[in-house]
Symmetry: C2
Subunit: 771 residues, 2 copies
Amino acid sequence: MDHKIVGKSTQRLDAVAKVTGRAMYTDDFFERDMLVGKVLRSPHAHARVLRIDAAKAKALPGVVAVLTPADLPKIKFATAGHPWSLDPGHRDVEDRLILTEKARFVGDAIAAVVAEDLLIAEKALHLIEVEYEVLPHVLTAEDAMQEGAPLLHENRPGNIVSSFGVQFGDVEAEFQAADLVFEGDYETSIVQHCHIESMSAYAFVDSDGRVVVNSSTQIPHIVRRIVAQALGLSWGRVKVIKPYIGGGFGNKQDVVVEPLAAAMSLAAGGRPVRYCMTREEVFIDTRTRHGMKLHLKTALTQDGTLKGIHMQVLSNTGAYASHGHSIAMSAGGKFRPLYDFRAIKYEPKTVYTNLPVAGAMRGYGTPQIFFALESHLDDIARKLELDPIELRRKNLIKLGHQDPLTKNVVRSFGIPECIEKGKELIHWEEKKQAHKGQTGHLRRGLGMALFAYASGTHPVALELAGARIVMNQDGSVTLQVGATEIGQGSDTVFAQITAETLGLPVDMVHVVTTQDTDITPFDSGAYASRQTFVTGIAVRKAALEVRQKVLEVATRRTGLAVAEMDIRDRMIVETSLGRTVCSLEDVAMDSYYDRLLAAPITSDTSANVRINAMSYGATFVEVEVDTQTGRVEVTELWNIHDSGTIINPKLAEGQVHGGVSMSLGAALLEQMLFDPLTGKPLNPNLLDYKLPTVLDTPKINAAFVETFDAAGTFGSKSLGECPTISPAPAVRNAVLDATGVAFHKIPLYPQVVFEKFREAGLLAERSVQHV
Amino acid sequence: MDHKIVGKSTQRLDAVAKVTGRAMYTDDFFERDMLVGKVLRSPHAHARVLRIDAAKAKALPGVVAVLTPADLPKIKFATAGHPWSLDPGHRDVEDRLILTEKARFVGDAIAAVVAEDLLIAEKALHLIEVEYEVLPHVLTAEDAMQEGAPLLHENRPGNIVSSFGVQFGDVEAEFQAADLVFEGDYETSIVQHCHIESMSAYAFVDSDGRVVVNSSTQIPHIVRRIVAQALGLSWGRVKVIKPYIGGGFGNKQDVVVEPLAAAMSLAAGGRPVRYCMTREEVFIDTRTRHGMKLHLKTALTQDGTLKGIHMQVLSNTGAYASHGHSIAMSAGGKFRPLYDFRAIKYEPKTVYTNLPVAGAMRGYGTPQIFFALESHLDDIARKLELDPIELRRKNLIKLGHQDPLTKNVVRSFGIPECIEKGKELIHWEEKKQAHKGQTGHLRRGLGMALFAYASGTHPVALELAGARIVMNQDGSVTLQVGATEIGQGSDTVFAQITAETLGLPVDMVHVVTTQDTDITPFDSGAYASRQTFVTGIAVRKAALEVRQKVLEVATRRTGLAVAEMDIRDRMIVETSLGRTVCSLEDVAMDSYYDRLLAAPITSDTSANVRINAMSYGATFVEVEVDTQTGRVEVTELWNIHDSGTIINPKLAEGQVHGGVSMSLGAALLEQMLFDPLTGKPLNPNLLDYKLPTVLDTPKINAAFVETFDAAGTFGSKSLGECPTISPAPAVRNAVLDATGVAFHKIPLYPQVVFEKFREAGLLAERSVQHV
């Protein structure tokens, strides 16, 4: 299609605001009489609070309020940022209170202080006396499932949050009939999002008695609901504002700080209270990515045709459910529209343990699943002496594939081209040749991995998005969406969709970037890679409605039927003649000032998007492994994406850079460590937690195979989370290729690699060779 | 009709915000790096600027920019806050620049400074050297119309801005045929609005390069246009925010400080610049109420039947047109739907002089016209020895009257009842008896006067109003309007209209009180007593649309046709049975979360209101005149209003209190004084300008005759400006009644009264009597 704006690398709308420091984040706002809130956290991984004595803390000058569980409503609520469901069976697990009388992990919030300043608040925390009854704790899913394991939530029959899996076909029959059955175990570690901006919110009670929360969140409309639920308020009595935010990656798709911030303000007579977490608090008491243990058992024919797979997943969700149940279930569905298994049995167990809470993080469990699956496929290929690429290629689904469970249809499938392009770009064959017969302690290897991902959550959850457009007198428009710009560039993409539809330059589309639940159209927010796909449909719908109205007003000037006209470059054009008949500004002015017919052109619409589109892609990577030190270096990396039409190549490339970097961190460096005896976090800070810096990050190359998906706006599909999925298994496969050593757990940090090499006898051999 | 909310004295929505100091006004906001702007003003009433040397000012440390006319676009613009007209013949007079090269009054803006703080800015003003060529000036309309008078605006043929009048019938024939012809001259003085909050705005250039203006204005959407016009920007490149405002009374229906504030920011590289006027600047360089001289010539029959009137008006508009042309024209139309003249010739002349600019002020010229007419009718009654009330009653129009010029139809006419009620409430007959044969220097008298006023400006100008309603999940709604709450209580009235329509308590209607032209629906703003009438129609339309959608969603639960249901007390009711079928919250939740049909219930609508409704009323007053000191004291006052259905009695009463107080100020105390030689203002401050304080203000009594006008929402008509019209002539007529002395000019301040009494011989007589 011939687009003027879509497909162009329009500059981000927020570029200037962000580089000049004009962008205002939650912590940049200040309210008169603002107070500070701080939290007292449990030093024990599992302990009952027997007594809290806050008298000394309350007596400290400058302390305005001390909150304990006794001061708060006893309403259990869920924090996961999902749309509400009218079906109680589809709701998130309501398993927590704002402050708890039973600590379930080291750092669980027991009490809170509201004070005039931070110093007083910190001091007051030390003055609160808490008497605990320390309970035995469990840190691993396996232990938590043991008979007689300490029970985290008394009202539940055990520590399993959810074991909701899916299956189709007869997997046992496939194993029976198979030429070969392979099994493998894989494991991923607990990692953290490490968004630059901390979790932060402030709340106050406005002069109407409503609770106003300003928060760094991906999901303002959901925060509104959950704050109301947690406090027992009518939902309309809460208002949430989301200003610019400094990253979220799913951590801010959870309602973590807002209910407590609101409770703090209510305890302080409605005065504004800021509750901003330190980095350590972010590590401990926000959300993590689930560490998973996966057992894969695969049936196939001698020639490498995949027949059936049984995937067992053990997902450690920490002390509260958050997204846990949903992640394990959702992530298992993503490989089905990639590989054409005849039978699948997907058996996840999400288990409570006395660790920090795991929740949503870019990829939503899919990186763990694909780490296992794509490692497994390479292990199979190696065993069968098949080319791992050919093994995959042979088993791909076909265009038009319909998932037997979700009923989602694959309307575009660029994987074959992604593979071709990846091989070509990394010079796969040439490098394969060059690597042959390598000697020395530095060994190069090639690896690749595929992935599939969805665009939004249909049909699992509701996909509702709102968009509002108002045309100004000069023909420029203002666009409001409930979808949130969280750094991914969604505002820019929405502006491009609007501009393309209305024949406007992008700088004539003004996007209101702050969401305010009183003002902004409803939208569930930024997650599930849904913004361009789901909200894009709403924005396009609103823009088309405005276009229709513009042309209807133009008929008054031109006499031409709406169908005979188009808007091009701010002009109304008679399509068949290519003749300009009047300007868009003329029409806009008529809409405002025609004495008889004035009615400003606006659209206020919503889209309930009941379709999905699968995105695909591949990572191709070359690594150099130092067998003496265990250091793995990525020497070349290509991520090739089929995300349908790319609305903004530069922003798309940015998404790939960020996502790949996150996956490389998980593959090579990152993991949260806990003392196995006490459950205490060992590295809850950016010094000890090894987040890759720019110096640790290789050049990341992005390429796109542009397909057209009929479900998406201008053919587009999701991209946001996609790049985070396949790099880790590709790196792991490249290490296997380089060294013959199959790692089954990430991260491949030097110590682990070194030890495994020693076990494999690689090290002795080398030291002999080189000493 | 049976209303639950309409007609009740709901508490103002902003009551708590205002009494607790939480309401944020323009000056309460602060932007990082904010600068201060100050203006250099002409010391001459009329002078050409030959040279400006800003070098020394620019060199002063802390000065960021100095603006002179040479630095600004040479685009003449109009400041009057009217909707734009597509017809160039209907536009306001474009006669000014942001800074002028020719001073046309003492205080005209010549140059401006932008500096780090106020002190530096003030210092810098003194360092700007200006060389003037002083020109002869004129201060009165008569002088300005003289042959050879100094011309204020070179591109115009003379100093008359406009002489657009109207006539119908043959007024000369009526004079010929009349039994009697009376003539009288009347005069009003220049007064000022004296809103508590000064004129203030700040502007900055946002990261998109758009100009953002935060302003204390009644008309944010018009400010946007005029700032853009003055600076030669595309209208969509300007954004205007109106927070809480501390009164306007029409002065802020003019775009006074905003273009310069924007220019200051542009000169300072887009940094935020605040331009807040001192009280003296408000007196000198905002707007005033036109001083008018009126000559009335009336034909009537022996029995007091009014036949024809010729009204000549000389309106002194000062140095720039502002609203001048429109006011003189508009005000002359208001008495036509009150008294049934067969012929009217209305001949206004609006004239430039070298005085501060006159503009819109509560009543928009009507107080001047009715002061003359109602004084004139009492003069006639006195001459004919008729009862002044009977004279009026005899000549009233009838219900259904259609104005021959505007074609507006009188659909409700409560004047006869207002007269009855007023007489009764003030005990007219009893007091008349009691006053008979008074002696001594304290004399009591009774006076009354009538008025008529319109609701909005139809058919003179466009009446377009927007309203947007979003229903929350709990059934509460958020309402956004472009109409502006300026203290009159419009937000509360809109909430009542919405609540009544949707079966909600008022506290479930959340009104967004800040207008932001990027976000808020379009509306021309607060003037012409149009908010309840015009915007009320838009709000009602939006609420009805929401109601319709609610009932449509309800049909999914109930199966009942929309017409069979109603919303009552947050419940959906089957009307015929009075049976509750489900809750409004159920419906709202369905609208958000129904998997198949989710679509939040919203309305985003506008109303182009092409109808008008006349409001009416009367003042009845008793005064006590001290003939020795000239002091006039109002001892009892009743304002009786026919404003149709009263939506909120308490707020309506508040409007009457404020309006009457303003009229009493004009009647007895207030006037701006100028040195006749230099044109310099003599009392531009609240010490020397005698604004009545609460100690000067009598108890003001309000009463209502509630009619139902089919044109207005729930039968309502305008009220905002109405109370400001009839008190002044009623007081003047009461003084006439008390003393027999007919005053023809207001204010009746003691010195004037004293002197006139001496002329009339009253004083001598008394002093003899009492010494």
